[in-house]
């Protein structure tokens, strides 16, 4: 990847390239849009927040002497007279992965300046995210109805509720914020803000399809966090 900022500067690949990029006394992330670098740094800090939640969950679950609720039964659904374990969570996982795929394609079509295709795919992603949040609201109300509270629940160790509401709630908030931005960006894409280079609200930066990739990074991160929550909270 060549950096348009530095004329005649040939970038080296691999670890030598990394050493030269880092020690070159200029921009460190060469060829990377500043917005993208900033989004990555934000995601790194967010990773630490989610890690702290999951590690405290591990610590809480590991140090209690009361049996932990069986997630397979707690999150099971009763459909057509059959008890299907973890059904809702499995559907939520598939919905989120579907929306992640449409987002990846939206980024690709954005860079190809295919405005319509990019816009429709962002809209599809937003609808996927909305479906996910809707199912999560259903799951929460179901559990609250069954008597799960942050301080007690009928299934086992009382800590279960507080970790559940904290972790899935924080993730759900991320999804909701993502959905809002997806709708805004779908609108901006259809209006052609990224083709014309129209400036945003809080920035003097000219609109560019790189913004779709930045939004995509956030959305994939939300999916990434769900992979870990799915594994540790629902399956473990």
């Amino acid at each position: 990847m060549s950096d348009p900022k530095i004329e005649g500067y040939v970038l080296k690949p691999g670890f030598r390239g990394m050493a030269e990029d880092t020690g070159s006394d200029q921009t460190m992330f060469k060829g990377v849009h500043w917005g993208k670098a900033m989004m990555w740094i934000f995601l790194l800090s967010d990773t630490f927040i989610f890690s702290c939640f999951l590690i405290s969950y591990m610590k809480g679950r590991g140090s209690t002497l009361i049996d932990w609720p069986n997630a397979s039964e707690v999150f099971g659904l009763h459909v057509f007279g059959v008890e299907v374990p973890l059904l809702l969570i499995a559907i939520m996982t598939f919905v989120l992965i579907t929306s992640s795929g449409t987002m990846a394609l939206a980024v690709k079509y954005g860079y190809e300046k295919n405005r319509k295709m990019c816009g429709w795919l962002i809209l599809a992603t937003a609808i996927g995210g909305l479906t996910f949040v809707g199912m999560q609201a259903f799951e929460w109300s179901k559990l609250i109805h069954e008597g799960v509270r942050p301080w007690e629940n009928p299934f086992g160790a009382p800590q279960f509720g507080s970790f559940f509401f904290m972790i899935t709630g924080f993730h759900g908030t991320h999804v909701s914020i993502g959905v809002i931005f997806l709708f805004i960006y779908a609108y901006k894409t259809f209006k052609g803000h990224y083709d014309e280079g129209k400036r945003g609200w809080f920035t003097s930066m000219k609109g560019d399809y790189v913004e779709i990739e930045i939004l995509g990074l956030y959305w994939h991160f939300v999916d990434l966090v769900w992979v870990f929550i799915f594994a540790f909270f629902y399956l473990w």
Partner: protein
């Protein structure tokens, strides 16, 4: 002209790669659901969960988030801090084992 073609090569990739990764993510998610469906227990369950989880996370980061194509300067800044999280996990494992030990000790022995 030469410069623009070079730029396009680095920023967009063939649709096939995305569809492949997408399909793989579905398959891996299905497998991890099957871990629960067949009620595997013990080490088999935990190792399968971890393997599928890391495969999925790796695929998303490498291809959907384009890390595979980024320069090492960025990739290393993002991935090395994960060792701090790994350290924290080790510390907290020691911590909860100690807590559970003291609880068992005082509940059984009675102080």
């Amino acid at each position: 002209m030469n410069e623009t073609t070079k730029q396009e090569q680095t920023t967009t990739h063939k649709i096939g790669i995305y569809l492949w990764i997408w399909g793989l993510l579905f398959v891996l998610s299905f497998f991890s659901y099957m871990v629960d469906w067949y009620q595997f227990q013990g080490m088999l369950r935990w190792s399968l969960i971890l393997v599928f989880m890391f495969l999925k996370a790796g695929l998303i980061m490498a291809f959907f988030m384009h890390l595979y194509w980024e320069r090492y300067a960025l990739v290393n800044v993002l991935l090395w801090p994960m060792t701090a999280i790994a350290c924290f996990i080790f510390l907290m494992v020691a911590e909860f084992e100690y807590t559970v030990f003291t609880r068992l000790f005082y509940f059984v022995v009675g102080g």
